[in-house]
Symmetry: C2
Subunit: 305 residues, 2 copies
């Protein structure tokens, strides 16, 4: 028997998904499902390996590169599907198996940011209309959720570095913001917010460069406030085959390993953007859960299966 | 770019899922997600093996045994999730990766059959209200779908054997109905129908025996008409720990391999039933597709990944 708190979380989880799908329907997004088992082209560190008959395959970490084909054919699309991360992280924010809400569409970074904030605000507002009883196990009131307002605050990565330096952190431009830094910024907010335009090279392999400042990418992370940190990330994708070939050379990526990805470049004749939100991350923040594993009934962790 | 026919199928797929979830909402089913990576206890023939850090794991073939815990806690539940079958079948009806619609609830076989037929009828009726244009690539009219009526016809396995013997097939009681036999029966119907009460031992390990005829199980397969065959199966589960222990002994199953399953038996103090429908099977029939791989954008087959 699952305990009462878990039951409450699972009911909130179901309501949250329902609210998200309702928003997608109202806004003409088509639901799709990409493959979960994907071909092995080179090694994929961070991905689980599957014995696929006599071949090696991996478990997908997202809809890429299939998203490009879906968008070219169907326009605005979304998927809600399990996702797998083979990283031995023993913090309170990572599961090896989680569900992601992923969106892709034609258009530029601003449009996908707008989509992401409207979706999250809609979900919060829907949940705020549930009986307060539903949140009695959590340090969260429906009033908090009703107060979430789109558009969300936005800081550029430059502004975040300035802020952290002023607060005494030893941080320099171009470095990845680790959990401690993210947490410090996140505590300054009481609703979700974005950090935008990460420098090239910070987990941004397929992200388009900012035409005005090529050292930056057209990317944004969505962060939960109150110390909960990253919920998801969004970006405008590179659409030119030769740009991605050049980046491969610069970043020492073997083109042979990315052939599979390159095959989908033909679908990228127009600006294309996407985002992914971790469902359990969103639940962790909404219910103020100490550990992300509480956000699902049968969590998968490096040492727990 | 996906071709026009594929795009039409993907739109029908999205509408179908939306209609199914709408029915679940109206009938107070709670959406849940079970784990996709499951522990290895003994070998699981037919399941894909995953390298889970230094352990071996498998990809789930369904919500069992977790369904029991969900039902004990939440009542009527459903999940729509990817499912994996590591079988080298090269027919037109099997994918190695497919999405299943799975339901579990307290109650007996008749109630779960009723749920399954009402769900499928609702989905067909919803799709029948879409513009006829949506089906222009397929030999299917919205009128056909509007005519699907619940309750569906029901034949016992005994009646099916009689029917097949009368039609000249060399088939005997207790044997598994293979594709050719299923197909023959399926061609006699113009809407989905059930075959009920399969004999003990025909893929029925966790199915409860019929108290009135212990050689039969409380199980039913849902079949599509017009030669499309099995869409899914439903059954009342065994709820007594000692009954399942006895079955293990009779069927030479090693109890050590099933410890994981047995741990969930504590949740089975009441009658419990469930069904699963293959989403792509349902689409294959609705759109009259020659091969099931057409029902998904990026199909996975034994030789295709």
């Amino acid at each position: 028997m699952l305990d009462e708190k878990t039951m409450a979380i699972l009911k909130i989880r179901a309501k949250l998904l329902d609210a998200a799908r309702c928003w997608f329907n109202q806004n003409d997004y088509v639901e799709v499902q990409g493959p979960t088992t994907i071909p092995a082209v080179g090694d994929r560190p961070g991905s689980f390996e599957v014995k696929y008959f006599d071949k090696k395959a991996y478990l997908a970490q997202g809809l890429q590169p299939y998203a490009a084909a879906f968008v070219a054919s169907l326009g605005k699309i979304y998927t809600i599907a399990p996702t797998f991360r083979a990283e031995k992280l023993s913090d309170r924010r990572h599961l090896t198996e989680y569900w992601r809400i992923e969106v892709a569409q034609q258009g530029e970074l601003n449009a996908i940011i707008r989509c992401e904030e409207e979706l999250v605000a809609h979900v919060c507002h829907s949940l705020s209309k549930e009986p307060a009883e539903m949140f009695r196990h959590f340090n969260r009131s429906t009033m908090d959720l009703a107060k979430v307002q789109s558009p969300f605050p936005k800081l550029t990565c430059d502004q975040v570095i300035d802020m952290l330096q002023k607060d005494g952190f030893n941080v320099s431009w171009g470095q990845k913001l680790d959990w401690e830094l993210e947490n410090h910024v996140s505590l300054k907010f009481d609703q979700p917010f974005f950090i935008t335009k990460f420098p090239v090279g910070v987990d941004t392999f397929f992200h388009k460069s900012d035409p005005e400042r090529p050292e930056l990418t057209l990317s944004a992370d969505l962060l939960a406030p109150e110390g909960y940190g990253e919920l998801g990330s969004c970006a405008q994708r590179i659409t030119e085959k030769k740009v991605i070939s050049k980046k491969m050379a610069e970043e020492n990526v073997d083109p042979a390993d990315q052939k599979w990805y390159m095959n989908f470049m033909e679908h990228r004749a127009f600006p294309q953007s996407g985002f992914a939100i971790g469902l359990e991350r969103l639940i962790q923040w909404i219910c103020k859960l100490a550990h992300i594993k509480e956000a699902t009934a049968f969590p998968r962790l490096p040492d727990e299966i």
